[in-house]
C-alpha cells in the first residue's frame, strides 16, 4: 500500500475514533462529558487533517508495514497463544513452552543451547518474582491436582 493510502486510512481511523468518542461523551451528564467531547472533536479534526494532507501530497512510494510478514504474524500468534494459555497451564509452564517454541518457530535449531537458555531464564524469573519478591502468579496446572 502506498504512503498516501496508508495515511488516508490512518487519518480516517482516528477521525472515526474521535467522532465516536465525542458522540459517546455527549451522553455523559454535566461537566464530565465536556472535556472528552472536546478531545474527541479535536482528534476527529486532526484525523481529517492527516487524511486531507495525504490526499493533497500524493506520496505514492510504498511504505512496508512489516519487514517479514510471516515471522511477524507467527510471533503475534505465538504471543496471543501464550497469553491465552497462562491462566490455563500456569505462568512458568507456559513461559517455558513459549521460550522453547518461539525460537523453534523462527528457525532456531540448537536444542541444547535452547534448553540451557530456557532453564536458566525461567530459573532467574522464578528466583526474582516468586522467591525474592513473592509475587502471586497464575498457578501451575500440575500443582492444582
Amino acid at each position: 500500500m502506498t504512503e498516501q493510502r496508508q495515511d488516508i486510512l490512518l487519518g480516517t481511523v482516528f477521525a472515526v475514533i474521535g467522532a465516536a468518542a465525542a458522540f459517546k461523551a455527549a451522553a455523559y451528564p454535566g461537566a464530565s462529558g465536556g472535556y472528552p467531547m472536546v478531545l474527541g472533536l479535536v482528534l476527529a479534526g486532526l484525523g481529517c487533517l492527516v487524511s486531507l494532507k495525504a490526499f493533497n501530497e500524493k506520496r505514492l512510494d510504498a511504505r512496508p508495514l512489516t519487514q517479514h510478514m510471516p515471522r511477524m504474524l507467527l510471533t503475534l500468534v505465538c504471543g496471543a497463544l501464550y497469553l491465552a494459555l497462562v491462566p490455563v497451564l500456569g505462568f512458568y509452564t507456559t513461559s517455558a513452552l513459549v521460550v522453547i517454541a518461539l525460537p523453534l518457530v523462527l528457525g532456531f535449531r540448537q536444542p541444547v543451547y535452547l534448553g540451557v537458555v530456557t532453564i536458566v531464564f525461567i530459573g532467574i524469573v522464578w528466583s526474582v518474582f516468586s522467591l525474592l519478591l513473592e509475587k502471586p502468579l497464575p498457578a501451575e496446572i500440575w500443582m492444582r491436582f
Binding site: Y28, L65, V99, V117
Partner: protein, 461 residues
C-alpha cells in the same frame, strides 16, 4: 546542609547503592543489545518496583537510563549498529575508528564522554530543578493548563516527522486518559459496563505494550539465528594519552551545554542532542573533513551530548510534572506508582526523595566510569553473541510477568498486547508513540483538573 547530609546518607544506604550499581550494569547490557532500548528496559522494570522503597526504585531507573545510554555506544562503535537511537551519531566516527583497529580507544573515549555528559546533566538538574519548582509555586490552574498545552504540543511537534500526526497522538493519549471514573463527578466514561475499566487504563500496562512489543516483533522479523562470532568482538587494550584527554575538554564542555539545553526542551531527545553536539564540534574543528573518518572528537561529542540530555530531561518533569520525553514520563509513572504527585509540591512534600533521585542520576553517571571500563566493555560486547531469536520470547515473558504483577489481572496482559500491536503499526505509519505516553501520563487526573493554588504549599489558604 542537614538536608544534603540526610539525602546523601539515604542514597548511599545499602539498598539504593546496590540498586544503582546493579542497574547500571544491567543498563549497559541492555544498551549493548541492538533491538532493546532504555525505554523498554525501564518500562519492564517499573512493575517490579511496586513493593520497593521509592529511592531504590528510582535508583534502578537512573542506573538503567545512564547505563543504557552508554551501552548503546558499544555496538555503534564495533558494528555500526546503534544500540539506542541516541547512539546513531556515535557510529559516524566510532565505527571508522574500530575499522582502523582503534575500537578499544573509541570505547574508552565513549565511556568517559558519557560519564562527563551525564555528570554535567545531573549537576544542572540539581541546581535548576529546585529553582524552577520554587518559581512554579506561584502558578494557578491557568498557568498549569498552558504549560501543559505547550509541553504536549512540543512533544507532539518535535518528536517524529509529521507534526499533525504527533499532535494527533498527543490528543489520543489525553483521550485514553479519560477512560474510567471521572475524579470529580464519579461518572464512568468509556467503560462499556466493564468494571475493570472503572479505574482507567493503567499507564504502565500501556507503556510496556507500546514500547516493548514493537522491538520484539522487529527482532522476530530479523530472525538472527547465530549472533556474532567472537572474532568480530576482539578488542585490544590501549591507553589514552593525557594530551588527547586535554584536547577533548572543549568538546566535552560544548556538548554538555548543548545536551543540557536540548534535555530541558520538551520533545527533543538524546538523539537530537547527539546530532547537534556532533555538528557543533565538527563546525568548530580546524579539520572538519576528518569527521566521519575516525575522529575521536566525533565520538566524544556524540556520546557526551546524548548523555548530557539524560538528567536535564527530568527538570520539567520533576519541577512541573510535565514529561519532556518518554523516560521522563516513565519516571513520573514510577512516582505515581508510589503515590507521589509530580510537580512543584513534590519538592516541598518529599525533598528527600527528589533530592535523592537527583543524586542518584549523578552517581550512576560516575558509576559508568567503573562498569564501563575497558575490561567490562569487553564483557558487555559479548552479549552480542546471543542469537536475537532467543531475546524474542524472553522479553515477551518479562513483559507478561511485569504487567501481571501490577494488578494480578489477565485482562491487563491482553491490553498490553493490543497496545503493543497498535504501537507497532503506528510506528510503521510514522505516528510517534512518545506523545501518547507523555499525554497519558499527564492525563492522570491532572490534565482535566489541574492543581489549584490552594492545593499547593504556600498557595491560597
Amino acid at each position: 546542609m542537614e538536608m544534603i547530609a540526610s539525602i546523601l546518607s539515604s542514597v548511599l544506604a545499602t539498598g539504593p547503592f546496590l540498586a544503582m550499581i546493579g542497574s547500571s550494569i544491567l543498563g549497559v547490557f541492555i544498551g549493548a543489545l541492538p533491538g532493546l532500548n532504555p525505554v523498554m528496559a525501564i518500562a519492564l522494570l517499573l512493575p517490579l518496583t511496586y513493593s520497593m522503597d521509592p529511592l531504590v526504585a528510582l535508583a534502578m531507573v537512573a542506573g538503567i537510563y545512564n547505563g543504557s545510554m552508554y551501552g548503546g555506544a558499544i555496538p555503534a562503535i564495533l558494528l555500526r549498529i546503534p544500540g539506542t537511537p541516541a547512539a546513531i551519531a556515535t557510529t559516524f566516527d566510532g565505527y571508522p575508528m574500530a575499522q582502523k583497529g582503534e575500537a578499544a580507544r573509541a570505547l574508552k573515549i565513549a565511556c568517559w564522554s558519557s560519564a562527563i555528559g551525564g555528570t554535567a546533566s545531573a549537576i544542572a538538574l540539581i541546581t535548576v530543578g529546585p529553582l524552577l519548582a520554587r518559581a512554579t509555586l506561584a502558578f494557578g490552574p491557568a498557568e498549569y493548563f498552558w504549560i501543559a498545552v505547550f509541553g504536549m504540543a512540543s512533544v507532539g511537534v518535535l518528536v517524529g516527522t509529521d507534526a499533525v500526526k504527533g499532535l494527533m497522538a498527543a490528543v489520543f493519549g489525553l483521550l485514553l486518559g479519560t477512560v474510567g471514573l471521572d475524579q470529580l463527578s464519579g461518572v464512568p466514561r468509556y467503560t462499556f459496563d466493564q468494571t475493570w475499566l472503572l479505574s482507567g487504563l493503567d499507564l504502565i500496562v500501556i507503556l510496556v505494550g507500546l514500547y516493548a512489543l514493537p522491538p520484539v516483533l522487529s527482532l522476530a522479523e530479523k530472525a538472527d539465528l547465530s549472533g556474532l562470532s567472537a572474532s568480530d568482538l576482539k578488542l585490544d587494550n590501549v591507553r589514552v594519552l593525557w594530551s588527547e584527554v586535554k584536547s577533548l575538554i572543549p568538546t566535552w564542555i560544548r556538548s554538555s551545554l548543548i545536551g543540557i539545553s536540548v534535555g530541558i526542551l520538551p520533545g527533543a531527545g538524546g538523539n537530537v542532542a547527539a546530532f547537534l553536539s556532533y555538528n557543533a564540534t565538527k563546525n568548530a574543528s580546524d579539520d572538519p573533513k576528518s569527521f566521519g573518518e575516525g575522529n575521536p572528537r566525533g565520538v566524544a561529542a556524540a556520546e557526551c551530548g546524548n548523555n548530557a540530555d539524560n538528567a536535564a530531561s527530568m527538570i520539567p518533569a520533576l519541577a512541573l510534572g510535565i514529561p519532556g520525553n518518554v523516560v521522563a514520563a516513565l519516571v513520573l509513572g514510577a512516582l505515581l506508582i508510589h503515590g507521589l504527585q509530580p510537580g512543584p509540591q513534590l519538592f516541598h512534600q518529599n525533598p528527600q526523595l527528589v533530592g535523592g533521585f537527583m543524586v542518584e542520576m549523578l552517581l550512576t553517571s560516575l558509576i559508568i566510569l567503573i562498569v564501563g571500563g575497558a575490561a567490562a566493555t569487553r564483557v558487555f560486547a559479548q552479549v552480542q553473541r546471543l542469537p536475537g531469536v532467543l531475546l524474542v520470547p524472553t522479553v515477551l515473558v518479562l513483559m507478561a510477568v511485569g504487567v501481571y504483577v501490577i494488578n494480578g489481572r489477565v485482562i491487563d496482559l491482553w491490553i498490553m498486547f493490543a497496545a503493543g500491536a497498535c504501537g507497532y503499526f503506528l510506528e510503521k505509519m510514522e505516528v510517534p508513540l512518545a506523545p501518547i505516553v507523555s499525554a497519558l501520563s499527564w492525563a492522570d487526573g491532572r490534565a482535566e483538573h489541574p492543581p489549584r493554588p490552594a492545593d499547593q504549599p504556600g498557595g491560597l489558604q
